[in-house]
Symmetry: C2
Subunit: 450 residues, 2 copies
């Protein structure tokens, strides 16, 4: 039961836009989900999209705004006045509104805030703007239902109905004391099944998880996943209830984190998408390529050291890409396992036992690969026995060293508070290329003595 | 406010286990969250963990079982009788119970099912076992609250209280007709604010998303994220309501999918964790290394074709790892962008425009890198002008070709219904190594004519 955008629909819309048939546009789009409309607008050009956007009702457009691709949203916001933007924000939840304000220029920000109609809402939004976006404060929203521990169930239900009007999902009702300090929670189900004269203090659950405003967002995600929570309250330094984080906020954090690790492993250093501009792609990709190029300079230098081998044992040089590739692949495998283990908090045991395990693993893999290589060098590649022997010995050594480097570097980065995912990708492959080639030719030199 | 396992706690537990002090063990663990206890058990050895597990109450152990690492769970289940396992499953939600039964041997499965006390529960679990684990049916649970459209609010609240007893999170109340066909939904909030004589058919919301039992799990995840749903009902071919999927089920799907893509990009072919056995690691890693090794054989052959260059232009061979590394890195960047774009459904435009964009991007990156390389080869690497010139030309060509291969292959795989993430990692780097070296030496041969 999902909506799919057809080419015909896009054509129909384009025709309606061309003929300025606003009435028909509204009829066509009115029944659609805002996420679907956003998907449609992303397929139109900026002018068409803005036109449609202005035709629609602000109740709908506010939600659409959230779902648009960044560049289209920026473009549309650029064509709205401060007052028009404020009208959109009045319709949104506090954290969504704060996110959009956060994208505006400093001057426009103040102007938009002053145009917000609902003063309470404006206060909440301004409050949220204070927090760092990677913290619980940065992802929480102010919409929540709270009751005083001194009330009874009847007052509580009345209050709750009032408060819940603007909240799409209630989840839990939080219980606070007179100073607004978080004391516990009530479930909707409990409310439905308790007599209306009961005092709240007699029924609420005193044990509940909460996080501080400055807790890192990935930590919040970890806690909510571990304890299987659908919402978690956020408290300030004094233990006062200041906001709430729901599981859909956390979904974004988890996806972003996974995307970031994936991109880092592929040598892409900021969050970019396929449809971003060439300049943004260059900014994200070029630094890693420069790193790899400089690493390449080092491999040229290293190979230069062994130039004397060329005359008699030139075939040795045919194997450098093979050795480098194996070192790179093994290193990336090892570091990816560590990076994921760190991210999922699933690493146990000491560094030493981990390194021992990697050595065992590399020995096993290395020996199997060595047999293939040794046979291959003899039957397929047709090189002298001694060359095949050297390459095989080098392969096993390189695999062991590469896996140790791959294991050690992310753990080291983590120790120094640097994102271990930086270690994967070009960084590991480049350093392993260099080490691998150095080891290979050193072994060759020892055996052949050139 | 999160629990951290201390070394002291583990020691204390180990002492209590040694002295068989069950009473004290229970006191110590009774107040802890099951997720924390699972984390503790994972740190103990199998015998200790099983001992503690048997001391605890089945209400608690059932939930713990779900959170344990696979190997410990397997070990503990192996030491329980069919009846004991059934006791655990009686405490669990249907989909969790079905997941655990799915891990048992065929014989044990039947035996455990026959020992389940709650017949309704057993029927639901058996029903769930029918579905493929990667489909909506495979991740849904049977716990949900449903009411008949012909009831009034009062009957509905009564029924709901009864049904909701075993359900931790109500979310929505589904409305069905006499044939159990899904008609719409009611929110808890609406129930709280509607008079008790109102007919359900007058208040329920008729529009709602649902998925079919055989919808793929990643598709369900996409729909729930797009429409920001916390729960989605699952219907069979006849439109009858058969289950429900909540956002926490989807969280697992999203994480698994992200982990899988990440591991594939790193050349690891099944879902493994750092703490899995060496044999499992070898099974997951070795195939990719063999692929890379065979690719390496091809590079040796390719270089062999250009052996005549060695006498006069031996320095050319110093640059093969550099060229191969650049080709690999560029290819992985391009393919990672495509794989993520496909996963997030955010690719727009034609294949042609995408390839044109990649060429523009590679030209820009390539030119900047070419300048660095050309200057570097002259001032740092001290090679003749002509070699520097050849390497520079080759670099730009290789970057363009590698990015086209990186873009094209995942799109091609997707077209044939193969997971495009397979394209990233060793596959792309290996094929780009080969192409890169071939292009480089072909250009050298054209210019130098050896």
């Amino acid at each position: 039961m999902e909506f799919k955008i057809s080419r015909e629909l896009i054509h129909e819309l384009e025709d309606l836009i061309k003929s300025r048939n606003d009435r028909q546009l509204e009829v066509l789009l009115n029944d659609m989900h805002h996420a679907d409309i956003a998907e449609i607008l992303d397929k139109l050009d900026f002018n068409e999209a803005t036109y449609v956007f202005k035709v629609l009702d602000s109740e709908k457009t506010a939600e659409i705004l959230l779902e648009l691709e960044d560049d289209l949203r920026e473009n549309i916001l650029g064509r709205l006045s401060a007052k028009e933007i404020a009208e959109e924000l009045d319709e949104l939840e506090t954290n969504d509104a704060a996110d959009i304000i956060g994208e505006l220029s400093q001057d426009l920000k103040a102007e938009v805030i002053s145009e917000l109609l609902d003063v309470e809402h404006a206060k909440d939004i301004v409050d949220l703007l204070r927090y760092d976006e990677d913290t619980a404060g940065g992802i929480m929203h102010k919409e929540l239902v709270k009751v005083n521990e001194n009330w009874n169930v009847l007052t509580c239900v009345k209050e709750m109905r009032m408060q819940a009007e603007n909240i799409s999902r209630v989840h839990s009702i939080y219980v606070v004391d007179d100073e607004d300090r978080l004391k516990g929670r009530l479930s909707l189900k409990d409310l439905l099944t308790t007599s209306s004269r009961t005092a709240i203090s007699d029924v609420y659950i005193r044990k509940l998880n909460s996080v501080k405003v400055n807790t890192e967002d990935v930590e919040v995600a970890r806690i909510m996943q571990k304890y299987d929570l659908e919402a978690i309250p956020v408290v300030d330094e004094l233990g006062r209830l200041v906001g709430r984080i729901t599981i859909d906020d956390i979904l974004d954090v988890i996806k972003e984190e996974a995307d970031k690790d994936y991109q880092l492993a592929a040598g892409i250093s900021q969050d970019i998408e396929a449809d971003d501009s060439i300049l943004e792609h260059t900014k994200a990709r070029l630094p890693w390529l420069v790193l790899a190029l400089l690493g390449g300079f080092v491999t040229v230098k290293v190979l230069g050291l062994f130039e004397p081998a060329m005359e008699e044992h030139g075939k040795l040089f045919f194997f450098t890409p093979l050795i480098a590739a194996m070192a790179g692949n093994v290193g990336v495998q090892s570091s990816a396992i560590i990076v994921q283990g760190l991210a999922n908090n699933s690493l146990s045991g000491s560094l030493f036992s981990r390194l021992v395990k990697e050595v065992m693993l590399s020995l096993l893999n290395g020996l199997i690969l060595a047999i293939i290589l040794f046979l291959g060098s003899h039957f397929l590649l047709d090189v002298e026995f001694i060359i095949g022997f050297i390459v095989t010995i080098a392969l096993v050594s390189v695999i062991i060293i590469a896996s140790l480097i791959g294991t050690f570097i992310p753990l080291l980065l983590e120790k120094f508070g640097i994102d271990p995912a930086l270690a994967t990708g070009p960084f590991i492959t480049t350093s392993n290329d260099i080490c691998g080639i150095l080891i290979y030719f050193s072994i060759a030199k020892m055996i052949l003595g050139f």
